[in-house]
């Protein structure tokens, strides 16, 4: 992308609504997601935070009967416009899922999958991308001697870092993370959190999490959602120490949710 972008938002969400059939899951959301920062989205189950995340790379469209209104701009381009190829959007906006979902292939093939589908065939280039991505995901030292083994033989935490490496291999600008540590044990969680903080230098990260401590530990900005509405979106320190909205305060002090 050669256009110079003055505005500091990776995503500008304006008056956005989303329906599953007749049920409205997201109400009138306005927010700007800043570039090269970690934005956390918190809220109780069913508040629409995962839905919002999946909308950012249009993965939500894999669910039938979804309707939207309003606009979401990625780098000032409307992601819903006809000119926007969804495949291209998803190469710029990568995603890491809740449950580690490596392919039933070797570690190498998992990471090389993205570059391969985008037309890179040369073994040497692929080798470089695989090593760089695995290093980027802080798992190279653990797997470098067994790149040809099936990724299913790894632990859950390692699998999730392979999935992050797989995402890095397509060289995205933004990484969306949908509760990436909820299926992991505390030690693996810590490793993935450290990795996320490390990735901030080069990527814009949006992370949906159930875990408020996690949001407080790693994010720069935090959004609190409730019943499909964006209640409060501000600096993480501010939100956790001095929430403006009563509902935010009730949630972070554990009065509900």
């Amino acid at each position: 992308m050669t256009t110079i972008i003055n505005n500091n938002a990776a995503f500008s969400i304006e008056d956005f609504n989303l329906w599953y059939g007749n049920d409205q899951a997201i109400h009138q959301i306005n927010m700007k997601i800043p570039r090269n920062e970690i934005t956390a989205v918190i809220g109780p189950s069913g508040c629409g935070k995962s839905t919002l995340l999946k909308t950012l790379n249009r993965m939500i469209e894999t669910i039938p009967s979804v309707n939207t209104s309003g606009s979401i701009k990625y780098n000032d381009k409307d992601i819903f416009s006809k000119k926007m190829l969804v495949e291209e959007l998803r190469t710029h906006v990568g995603m890491v899922f809740q449950k580690p979902n490596p392919f039933p292939k070797s570690i190498y093939e998992n990471v090389a999958y993205g570059p391969k589908i985008h037309g890179i065939k040369k073994k040497k280039v692929l080798d470089e991308i695989v090593e760089k991505s695995l290093r980027g995901a802080a798992i190279w030292d653990e797997v470098k001697d067994r790149l040809n083994q099936n990724a299913y033989g790894l632990s859950g935490g390692q699998q999730q870092r392979i999935c992050i490496a797989r995402c890095l291999a397509i060289e995205p600008d933004v990484i969306l993370m949908d509760e990436p540590t909820s299926a992991l044990d505390p030690i693996s969680t810590l490793k993935v959190e450290e990795l996320i903080k490390e990735l901030k230098k080069d990527y814009t990260i949006v992370i949906v999490t159930h875990n408020m401590q996690q949001a407080a530990r790693i994010s720069d900005k935090t959004a609190f959602m409730l019943n499909g509405e964006l209640v409060e979106f501000t600096d993480t320190d501010q939100l956790f120490s001095n929430p403006k909205d009563k509902r935010t305060e009730d949630y972070i002090t554990g009065r509900f949710g």
Binding site: T62, E87, T91, F97, N101, P104, Y113
Partner: protein, 288 residues
């Protein structure tokens, strides 16, 4: 109260045993008949099953009769039927599972594919006769028979392939399209490799049924006695079950033994195909 409970418990335990016995009985009936069948066929046919029997064409004399034409006919037929039915069947399954919108029309097709799987084979024979033999003017040829057989096994393969494709976890598809892969790339690189064991197992079982079919082939004109093996797809042909059927319909008792030898060959081929299906299933099981 306590004794009452105990007597109730006793009843339940007895009932439990009773049902276990019932199920063992049901299973043993099936096994018994299978045993009798195998014993009868082996005792009648084994003496006639010689190398010459495998190499010879049908003949008017028992000692010269052989199943070579039928064996080769069956193999040639499967060689045509398998690719036609698998390619068409898997493509249909991909369309229904991956591309078709989930609406009434799709459901209508789904239900009817399943209905087709239950249509008697002789009906497919009539369809083949009308369409391939007369309308396309293929005549009583190998290709007409093989295409008729393809239609016969197609619904079974479609249903098996659909189930295999459906069992690939959504998470894997999401991972692929989440990286900007197109639907086709996802199907070709992720969905099909993961569902190949299911597709192949289903296809082989369907084809092993086809190899034992006689009725539709009688209608589309497989020969009962033929002295050549097919040299092109427009050749006359016969298949093993046709050959066996023609032997059993002869008056002399010894022809029954020749037929039994033919059945042994047919059974061996069926067992081999089923063994391959089981092997594939075990080899690729639990991939995700």
């Amino acid at each position: 109260m306590h004794t009452n409970n105990t007597s109730k418990l006793k009843n339940r335990v007895i009932l439990n045993k009773l049902f276990k016995l019932l199920f063992i009985f049901a299973t043993s009936i099936a096994l018994l008949f299978l045993g009798v069948l195998i014993y009868r066929i082996l005792s009648q046919g084994l003496d006639y099953l010689t190398i010459d029997f495998l190499k010879n064409y049908p003949a008017p004399y028992i000692e010269e009769a052989g199943i070579f034409a039928g064996l080769m006919g069956s193999l040639f037929m499967i060689a045509i039927t398998a690719p036609v039915a698998i390619i068409l069947g898997v493509s249909t399954a991909i369309y229904l599972e991956e591309y078709a919108k989930q609406n009434k029309f799709t459901r209508f097709i789904q239900v009817n594919v399943q209905n087709l799987a239950g249509v008697p084979s002789i009906v497919f024979g009539l369809l083949g006769l009308t369409f391939f033999v007369y309308m396309l003017e293929l005549g009583y040829t190998l290709i007409a028979g093989a295409l008729t057989m393809s239609l016969l096994v197609l619904p079974v393969i479609v249903v098996a392939a659909q189930e295999a494709i459906r069992s690939v976890p959504k998470e894997l598809r999401d991972a692929s399209i989440g990286m900007g892969a197109t639907k086709w790339q996802t199907i070709w690189r992720i969905v099909l490799p993961a569902s190949i064991p299911g597709i192949l197992t289903g296809s082989i079982l369907a084809l092993s049924r086809a190899i034992g079919e006689t009725a539709p082939l009688i209608i589309v004109g497989a020969a009962a006695a033929i002295y050549t093996i097919p040299d092109s797809i427009f050749s006359k042909y016969t298949v093993m079950p046709m050959q066996i059927w023609s032997w059993t319909s002869r008056p002399q008792e010894e022809w029954q033994y020749v037929a039994a030898a033919g059945i042994i060959v047919l059974l061996i081929i069926l067992l081999c195909m089923n063994a391959i299906a089981v092997w594939i299933r075990n080899k690729f099981q639990n991939r995700y």
